[in-house]
Each structure stands twice: as structure tokens, then as C-alpha cells.
Symmetry: C2
Subunit: 379 residues, 2 copies
């Protein structure tokens, strides 16, 4: 393998695939990036067995020569060092040449880097997927839905299935659900290209979807290919493979109340800022408990207290108050997490009593729903 | 104590004094900030016994009312929580009122924060300094000299005196020296207002000077009051006290060579970038060793290697080469640290052989000098 490549494009592709490089691994080759060069371009592949990412740099892009190939070939190079050194090379064009025993020379300006390469034959192959079940979704919608739900997934590996996001595909609708048993987030959207006969819910690790989120292009359509234990996100010049989690996701439909005793609407920013201040103090007590009580039909009060530090009290105006007076306590961190992903100016909150779930939705939308269990307290 | 105060100014003063708040302390009051309010304004004080900072907010600034005083008084409030909550309060004016037992109420918009205050009488008093020995130095020069030397001070508390920067005051010149036994940095400047009879070198902790650096105003004159075991930096509306280190600073004048076997000048950025790349690889071997050899009178070569990863080789053009051919090894991290504080476009490097100190100076200046001991190697 011998070629000249534009630094900018090479750097970008390395940065994209590097999210799949194994950090701590007993299989040395997985800490590398595989390069395959041919007439069409250069393909970069990385895999930590959980995620695999493949990025393709075409030789010519928009009439610009990106790669000049002299000799096709393959090699695996150490990812961490490659990532850092390529960024810092002193010229816009980089020469890569692979010699015997995969010794690789990278030249740029007056710099010469000699790397110990590994045999590309030892690099794991990417899964081959049939194209029987393919969904199409815009990258922006996918990124939004991940953002709205991933934070509510469990981080406890003991309940492995809950570390994932449930994808429920029914009647042309795709719904994401994530829960850690204390809170739940769901978001749904209409989709295209769906075949109703092959429906089955799948669970994809939330961590993996967060990684995907970072490299999703803006404003593009993504093909999502679903197989038994693998899902492939296909973008232009990039493939992203993730494992599908084994196991059955718990039925969460029954814990979401449908009849409410108290509900109101309020300003997203006002609530977020007041919560943020109450959280500051609640954090000192480790529990993050904040109390919410209704003062009248126009006002609620948030408060938190710490024996050592003192007390924070916040009054917030509400609109459309309906139902009984309210007195409830909850983990302020959970509600703050919800407020962070709220894109509407106002939010709607519904309660079914001091011991029942709190439901938060963006005003005027039923596609997104957040649930928080209250903190069971006696006063 | 009861007053209204502008949030912006209060916040800024808190942020300045908070650098002296004790983080881990067995004396609870030292984790607080003392507030003293009178007709003139509000004084904030924090002290961790190593550093003390006092910041004064005048009631009126440039014809603007900053503080409306209703009742003078004092209180000590918990620093960490105060810092965080004041930033987040919802209005530009904050009301502070102290009740019995130092219970303090902070009100802003619809927020009410009640804090458990402490007795200001228990807060340590600031040292009283006679004004016998006062230097005057511009804040920008002081910041520059700290930046040029502090990084070379030791971080090892076992050689306590070397964790400081030596201030040598002689014949109207102030010279800073810092060394950790592997490298040395010095910087000197002419000063005013100095009394030659009271000369003695002092050593101030480098960490403290770095903290001072962060709150030094731009373009102002600083009074520096030196006493037996304390130094005071007096700025407009701010006092910064630091402890002076006990002990005798080693005599470093003899380790700086004055006759050189090889010397040349080169481009600061070219050397920094090449070193940066060589460092990346040298770091993998933990030693950070980079080798420097002269190729001819126009070119030097930097290189580093790692058995696992490979080798980086860099060629750099030099000018004004004088003396013998060169072959030397050193810790690349040390030279990178020096390059980061070099403000001139070109640097001059001088050598006295493979086992003798390397001297780096900015081109055309003898006020700043950096010394690095080479790595003793046999090849």
C-alpha cells in the first residue's frame, strides 16, 4: 500500500471510526484502525466488538482529488497514536507507505513517522446483514430521539437490559423507551420503509446510541438495517454497527397513569432555573430531594433544605391549574435531566398523588413523555 | 447587617476571594467567606492560612450605586454554596439580611435562600504589615514573570523550598528563579521604589503566585509589601497575602554555563511543533526522551522512538550555527514547557556537551533564561 492523502479528510475519518476503537483490550489488534486502500478510495475500520465503525474516503470528492493511489493494500495501525500524530503533521498532504512486516512510513513536510503496523488479516470481519428489515429515518430526528431518552437508561450493568433503549416498531411508528426503574423517557415518530410483518421490539445499548449521535451527519437520511443480534446504521460513506441486547424489556405501559388529580403548565426556563437553585442545596444532603407544593391556582413553591447550610425557597407562576392541592417530593436531579432535553418554551406537568408517578410533557405534544417516581416521604 | 447589592459586582468579588477559601479544613469557619458591611462598602475576606484575599466593593462606583446599606454588620457565609447560588439568582439586585444567630436571608426575585451563617468574630484576622519595604511593579510584568518561571518550580513537598519562586532583589533589579533540580527558569526586570539597605532574597510558593496571576488586574501598578514571613500584593480594592517560605534557597548561579561548545537560533513555532510530535511517541516510553543531533550547519534532527509503536524523525532548519557537531538527549516535556512560555518568534539554544545543561533564551533578550539538564545516555 502506498498513497498520498489529504490530511483534513484522513483526520476526519480517523476521528469518526476512533469511537469504536477498543480502549482496554486483551486483543491488541482491536486497539488499531484497519486501513484498506484501492482505486475507489481508503476504507478505515475500527471495532471493539460492541460497536464497529467503517468510514470510506473516496479518492475523488466533488472533483477534488483526495487520494492519489500508487499501490493498493491494507494495514492495521495503532489508533491512539495515529489519531494524535495525524492532527499535528505539518503539511496538508500526507504520504503513507507500507513496507515488509507491515512497517508503515508516514511522511509530511519534514516529519517522518515510522509505525509498527499489524497484519490486517487478523482484524475481525464486519457482520454481513441481509437487507430484509430496513427503516429510514432522518439523522436529525434520530439524534433528537436519542437525546430525549438515553439519559433515563440505567447505567447499572446488573440490569443489563435496562442499559439499553427499547425500539418499538408498530403501525409505521417508531417509539423509544428508556428507564432505570426510577424514571422513564419515551419519544415516538412516524417512519417510512417499514414492513409490518417483521415487527419485533429490539433493545440497543444507550451508550452506543450516544456514540452514534456524535457522528450522525446533519440533515441526512439514515438506513437502519435490523438483524437478529445486530443493527446497522448506514450513512453516506459510513457504516455504524451495534450489538442488540439479549433479553426481554419489561412492559412499562402499565406504570404510566392516564387519569390525573392535579395538572398545570409552566415556563420551561423559569422551572429549570428554580430547580437548579433548589438542587444546589438538595445535593448537599445527597438525596437531591426537592419539595413541590401548590400555594394557590397561580403559584407553586419549590423548596429544598440542608441542616448544615440552610434552605432554598422558590415561587413559580403556573397556568391552567386543574385539580386538587398538591404536596409532593422528588429527586431534583431527575427533573433537571428532563428539563435539559425540553425544547418547547412551556412544559405540562401532571400528578396522581404524592405516591404516584409525575408526568412531564412538552406543551402541545404527545410524542414525548417523561415519568419520574416521587420520593416517598411522610411530611 | 442588611443591604441591597448589585449581583455582578458581588459575584466578581466572591469569585476573587474564593481562591483563598480552604477546601479541606478541620476549621469550619475557613470554608466560609467573611462579609463586613459599612457605609463605605462591603469587604469580603477568605483565608486558608496559606493565602488570604480581601476584596472591597465600594458602595458607589463611577457614579453608580452598587450597594444600598440599611444596617451595617458582619457575617461568615459558606463559600462553596454562596459562590454557586449567587451566580444563579434570578435578578440583578440581591438583598442580604442577617438575623439573630447569624441566620442570613438572601432574596432575589422570587427566590429566597436562607443560610446558616457563622460568627465573624471567629474568623482569623489578616496580618498587619509595616510598610517599610515596598516594591512597585506593573501587573502585566508580574504576570509575565510568574508565567515564565512558575512551571519550573518543584511540586514535591519534600523539597519545600524548591516549590517556591526565589525573588532576588539587587541594585534595582528583581529576579525570579525557579528550579526542580532537573530544570531552571529565571526572569528579571528593573523595578522602582526599592530601598537597597533592606535587601534579602525571599521565596514565595509558586502555586500561590499562580493563583495571584489569575486575579491580577490588567495594566495596573501593584504595591508589593514584604515583611518577615508575609508578602502583601496590594491592588485597587483587593489585598492578596501570601506566606513566605522558610529556609535557604540553593545557590543556582554556578550551574549556569557561560561558555558554550555549540549554539544556534531557530524558529519557535517550528521547534515547538516538531517537539510536540516527537513528544507524542517519547511519552509512550514514559521517559519522554528525545534525541537531538546536528546534520549540518543548516539542519538539526529531533527523534524519538518506542519499541512498540515506532519512530518519529523531524528535521528543522537552524541559523547562525557555531561550534562543534552536536548529539544530545533530553526530556522533551521540559523543553515543551519552555517553548510554551516563549513569546519571541525565534529562540537561541546553547550547549556545552552531551552531559552539560542546555540553555534556551528568547532571541535578543538576556532577561529570561531557561536551563534543562540533558538525559545521561550512552548512545
Amino acid at each position: 500500500m502506498k498513497l498520498n492523502i489529504a490530511k483534513h479528510e484522513f483526520n476526519e475519518a480517523i476521528s469518526n471510526v476512533s469511537k469504536a476503537v477498543a480502549v482496554k483490550t486483551s486483543i491488541p489488534i482491536l486497539s488499531g484502525i484497519k486501513l484498506d486502500a484501492d482505486e475507489q478510495g481508503l476504507t478505515l475500520t475500527a471495532s471493539d466488538t460492541e460497536i464497529s465503525i467503517q468510514s470510506f474516503i473516496p479518492s475523488v470528492q466533488e472533483d477534488q482529488t483526495i487520494i492519489e493511489l500508487e499501490r493498493a493494500g491494507s494495514v492495521v495501525l495503532p489508533a491512539k497514536f495515529l489519531t494524535e500524530i495525524v492532527k499535528k503533521l505539518p503539511s496538508d498532504i500526507i504520504e503513507i507507505e507500507v513496507f515488509e512486516h507491515f512497517v508503515t512510513m508516514i511522511r509530511a513536510g519534514s516529519s517522518e513517522v515510522q509505525l509498527v503496523g499489524l497484519d490486517p488479516e487478523e482484524f475481525p470481519l464486519l457482520p454481513r446483514l441481509s437487507e430484509e428489515h430496513v427503516l429510514h429515518l432522518s439523522s436529525d430526528m434520530l439524534r433528537t430521539m436519542i437525546r430525549q431518552t438515553a439519559f433515563a437508561a440505567s447505567t447499572n450493568e446488573n440490569s443489563a437490559i435496562l442499559t439499553g433503549i427499547l425500539w418499538n416498531i408498530q403501525s409505521n411508528r417508531l417509539k423509544f423507551v428508556a428507564t432505570d426503574r426510577h424514571r422513564l423517557a419515551s419519544s415516538e415518530v412516524e417512519i417510512q420503509g417499514h414492513e409490518p410483518n417483521s415487527d419485533r421490539p429490539i433493545v440497543i445499548p444507550a451508550k452506543t446510541l450516544n456514540e452514534l449521535s456524535k457522528i450522525l451527519p446533519e440533515n441526512a437520511m439514515i438506513d437502519i438495517v435490523i438483524e437478529n443480534n445486530q443493527v446497522l446504521f448506514r450513512m453516506e460513506n459510513m457504516l455504524f454497527y451495534s450489538r442488540i441486547l439479549d433479553g426481554t424489556y419489561p412492559d412499562t405501559s402499565k406504570i404510566i397513569p392516564t387519569v390525573f388529580k392535579t395538572e398545570f403548565t409552566l415556563d420551561t426556563k423559569q422551572l429549570t432555573d428554580a430547580l437548579d437553585r433548589a438542587y444546589l442545596l438538595s445535593r448537599e444532603e445527597k438525596t437531591n430531594i426537592v419539595r413541590l407544593v401548590s400555594i394557590d391556582e397561580q403559584t407553586i413553591e419549590l423548596s429544598s433544605s440542608s441542616t448544615e447550610l440552610g434552605k432554598v425557597t422558590e415561587q413559580i407562576e403556573v397556568e391552567g391549574y386543574r385539580g386538587e392541592p398538591l404536596r409532593i417530593a422528588f429527586n431534583s436531579r431527575y427533573l433537571l435531566d428532563v428539563m435539559k432535553v425540553m425544547d418547547t418554551e412551556r412544559v405540562h406537568i401532571s400528578f396522581t398523588g404524592a405516591m404516584s408517578p409525575i408526568i412531564v410533557t412538552p406543551e402541545g405534544s404527545d410524542a414525548v413523555l417523561h415519568l419520574i417516581l416521587p420520593y416517598r416521604t411522610t411530611n
